[in-house]
C-alpha cells in the first residue's frame, strides 16, 4: 500500500513537550518537511534558543547547539563562518529574539549573515509562565502586566519584520501564521524559501510565525486560533516585508 502521509525524516521520534493547542508542533513539522524536501538534513545544524523551544535539539534529527538567551544569531554566525557549506538555522521565540537578543538579530541581518531564522511570535514568555513580552499587545493581561499592557508606562510592541525591513543587509522577511490550513500552507512556502535562500547563498532570511500560547493566554486551543485572527493579525499583518532575492542576478 502506498504511504500517503508520514512523519518527516528530519524529526525524531521523541514526543513533543509542548502544551495542547500550541503551534510549535506545526512549525517544527513545517521546518522538518522543508529540510526533507531540500535534502539538506545531513548538512543542517540547528541553533536552539531559550524559551519553550529550548529543547528543539531533541526533536530535529540534525546536529544542534543550544544557545544562551537571545544569542542564537551570534552562535549561528560562528557555526556558519566555520563551515559555510552547512545549512544553519535558529529557532527563537519573541522574548529571546525581540527583547534580550535584539542586538544579535539586527546585526546578523545587517551583516547579511547567510542563515535562516524561524521566529515564533506568540506575544508572551511561555516557558517562564506567561510574562509580558516585547510583542505583547497593548492592554493584554500577562503575569507581569496584570492590569493590561500600559503602553504609556512600558512601551509599545516591537514589530520585528517592520523593523528589519529597514536593515539594508536583510534579504528576505515574511510574516506568516498557522491558524488554518491555508495559512499553514503559506507558512511552509515561506519557510522553504528561507532555507532555499541560504542554500543559494542569498543571505539573511527571517520568517516570523504568529503563534499561539493557549496556556498563558488562558484560552482554549480553538479560541487561541480565533485570537490570532481577531487580535494578533491586526497588530501583526501578514505578508512579505522584504525580498531582494528577485533583484539579485
Amino acid at each position: 500500500m502506498a504511504v500517503v502521509f508520514s512523519k518527516p525524516h528530519s524529526l525524531t521520534d521523541k514526543s513533543l513537550h509542548y502544551c495542547p493547542g500550541c503551534t510549535h508542533g506545526i512549525i517544527h513539522r513545517l521546518v522538518a518537511e522543508v529540510i526533507d524536501e531540500l535534502e539538506i538534513e545531513g548538512d543542517t545544524i540547528g541553533v536552539a534558543s531559550v524559551g519553550c523551544s529550548v529543547m528543539a535539539y531533541d526533536y530535529f534529527n540534525v546536529d544542534f547547539v543550544q544557545a544562551a538567551h537571545g544569542r542564537a544569531p551570534a552562535v549561528a554566525t560562528g557555526v556558519k563562518r566555520s563551515d559555510p557549506s552547512k545549512i544553519v538555522f535558529t529557532y527563537q521565540g519573541d522574548g529571546d529574539l525581540a527583547a534580550i537578543g535584539t542586538a544579535e538579530t539586527v546585526h546578523a541581518a545587517a551583516r547579511r549573515e547567510n542563515i535562516t531564522i524561524i521566529f515564533i511570535n506568540n506575544a508572551i514568555y511561555g516557558m517562564t509562565g506567561g510574562q509580558m513580552a516585547p510583542t505583547t499587545l497593548p492592554g493584554m493581561v500577562t503575569q507581569t502586566s496584570p492590569y493590561g499592557r500600559d503602553v504609556e508606562a512600558v512601551g509599545f510592541p516591537i514589530k520585528i519584520c517592520e523593523l528589519l525591513s529597514n536593515i539594508e543587509g536583510a534579504t528576505y522577511l515574511e510574516r506568516v501564521t498557522v491558524n488554518n490550513v491555508a495559512n499553514v500552507k503559506k507558512a511552509k512556502r515561506a519557510i522553504k524559501k528561507a532555507f532555499q535562500n541560504q542554500v543559494e547563498g542569498k543571505g539573511f532570511s527571517l520568517i516570523e510565525v504568529v503563534s499561539t500560547c493557549p496556556t498563558n493566554w488562558g484560552l482554549s486551543p480553538q479560541k487561541s486560533l480565533e485570537f490570532i485572527e481577531t487580535d494578533m493579525l491586526p497588530a501583526y499583518p501578514l505578508g512579505v516585508y522584504k525580498d531582494i532575492t528577485g533583484e539579485e542576478k
Binding site: 538534513e41 545531513g42 548538512d43 543542517t44 545544524i45 541553533v47 536552539a48 529550548v54 529543547m55 535539539y57 530535529f60 534529527n61 540534525v62 546536529d63 544542534f64 547547539v65 543550544q66 544557545a67 544562551a68 544569542r71 551570534a74 552562535v75 549561528a76 554566525t77 560562528g78 557555526v79 556558519k80 563562518r81 566555520s82 563551515d83 552547512k86 542586538a103 544579535e104 539586527v106 546585526h107
Partner: protein, 352 residues
C-alpha cells in the same frame, strides 16, 4: 630555529594563535587590547581565516561558541570590562565542554575603571568569572615571548581538556615590544567526535548543550568535570622559581609585577638579603606544591600584585598559612616600583 622579530605583546598573541591553527577570531575594540583585533583583521584574510568585528563582546563570545561547537580552534580577546560581558558565554563554553582561548589584557577597575595596566581580574578569572561550578585554565605570561608561547600552549590545553583557556595578561604585556620567536608550531591533534559537522545522514545527531533539567544529571556532569579539573591540577600546574634555593624570604608575583620584583630581588641580594621568587605561570591550577616545597624554608612570603590583594589568598592556602604572607600592592593602573618592593623585602626581613 624560527625568526626573531620585534612585536607588541598583543600582536604576538594574534600571530601565535594563527600559527597554532586558529582560523577564526571574533573581537570588539577596547583599550588596551585592540591591537589583537587590528592584527587579526590584517592577517586573517591573507591566511584564509575569518576575522569578524562583532557588535558587542557578548556577540563575539557567542560567535566563539558557534565555531568551537564545530570543532575548530577559535579565539576572542578583550580587556576587563569586556571580559565581564563575556562571562555568560564563558560559563556556557564550560557547561558545553567546548575548547576556546579567551585573552584578557587587563586594565584597572571596577566599572569603566581606567585604561592603565592592572591585575584586578585575578579572582574573576581564576574562579571562573561567570555563573555556575567551573574553572578555566589560566595562563599568565610575563614577556612578549610568553604571550606567544602560552597562547600556543593554551590552544593545545583547550583542545586536550575541552575547556576554556584564558590568557591573563595586562596592559603592559599587551603594549610593550620585545623580540619574540615563533617557531614552526605543531598544533596538538585532538579528535573531536562530538563536533557539529552535520550528520551526513551517517550518524546520530551531535548535540552541544549545557541544559540538564534533572538535577541528578546536572550533578553528575559537574562531578565528572571536577574529576577532570583534579587531574589538571595534578599535571598542568606551572611555576618559575628564581633564586629560591637558599631563599628565606619568598616574593611571589605573576605577569608584569614579576619583572619588577626581579629587579628588586637582585638589589636585595646585592645587599645580602636571601630572597627569591615564585612566579606562577598557571594561575589556575595554582602551583600549590611549588609553594609548599618552600613553606618550611622561608620565614615569610610577600605577594606583589596590581590589585587590592587577590592572589595572596591562594598563596596563604598553598602554604596552609604556615608562614605570614604580606601584601605589596599598587592598584587602579599604577605599577609598583622596584624600590617599593625592595622596601617591603627589607621590612619583612627586619633589615634597616
Amino acid at each position: 630555529m624560527g625568526e626573531k622579530v620585534l612585536m607588541k605583546g598583543n600582536e604576538a598573541i594574534a600571530e601565535a594563535a594563527i600559527r597554532a591553527g586558529c582560523m577564526h577570531y571574533f573581537g570588539y575594540p577596547i583599550t588596551p587590547q585592540t591591537e589583537v583585533a587590528a592584527y587579526m583583521s590584517k592577517r586573517m584574510p591573507k591566511v584564509g581565516g575569518v576575522f569578524l568585528q562583532a557588535e558587542s563582546e557578548i556577540a563575539a563570545i557567542n560567535m566563539v561558541i558557534g565555531v568551537a561547537a564545530t570543532g575548530k580552534r577559535v579565539m576572542t580577546s578583550s580587556s576587563s570590562p569586556g571580559i565581564s560581558l563575556k562571562g555568560e558565554g564563558i560559563s556556557y563554553l564550560a557547561g558545553c565542554d567546548l575548547p576556546a582561548v579567551v585573552v584578557n589584557v587587563q586594565r584597572g577597575g571596577p566599572g569603566l575603571g581606567g585604561i592603565q595596566p592592572s591585575q584586578a581580574d585575578y579572582w574573576q578569572t581564576t574562579r571562573g568569572g561567570g555563573h555556575g561550578d567551573y574553572h578555566n585554565i589560566v595562563l599568565a605570561p610575563a614577556s612578549v615571548q610568553e604571550m606567544a608561547s602560552l597562547t600556543v600552549r593554551g590552544f593545545d590545553l583547550a583542545d586536550k581538556y575541552r575547556m576554556v583557556v584564558m590568557i591573563l595578561a595586562d596592559g603592559t604585556m599587551g603594549q610593550m615590544m620585545e623580540p619574540v620567536e615563533i617557531d614552526n608550531i605543531e598544533p596538538l591533534k585532538v579528535e573531536k567526535p562530538w563536533a557539529l559537522t552535520g550528520t551526513g545522514m551517517k550518524r546520530k545527531p551531535n548535540i552541544v548543550n549545557s541544559l540538564y533539567l534533572k538535577p541528578n544529571e546536572l550533578e553528575k556532569t559537574n562531578f565528572d568535570r571536577y574529576k577532570k579539573y583534579t587531574k589538571i591540577a595534578e599535571t598542568e600546574a606551572l611555576a618559575e622559581e628564581y633564586l629560591m634555593e637558599d631563599a628565606e624570604i619568598c616574593v611571589t608575583a605573576f605577569g608584569i609585577t614579576s619583572r619588577v620584583a626581579k629587579n628588586a630581588i637582585k638589589e636585595a641580594r646585592a645587599q645580602g638579603i636571601k630572597v627569591g621568587m615564585i612566579r606562577p605561570i598557571t594561575l589556575w591550577p595554582f602551583p600549590k606544591s611549588t609553594y609548599m616545597k618552600h613553606a618550611d624554608q622561608c620565614k615569610a612570603f610577600i605577594s606583589v600584585e596590581m590589585n587590592m590583594g587577590q592572589m595572596i589568598e591562594d598563596v596563604q592556602l598553598a602554604i596552609e598559612c604556615k608562614k605570614p604572607v604580606t601584601l605589596c600592592n599598587r592598584t587602579g593602573g599604577m605599577i609598583p616600583k622596584p624600590e617599593e618592593i625592595l622596601a617591603k623585602i627589607k621590612e619583612v626581613g627586619g633589615v634597616k
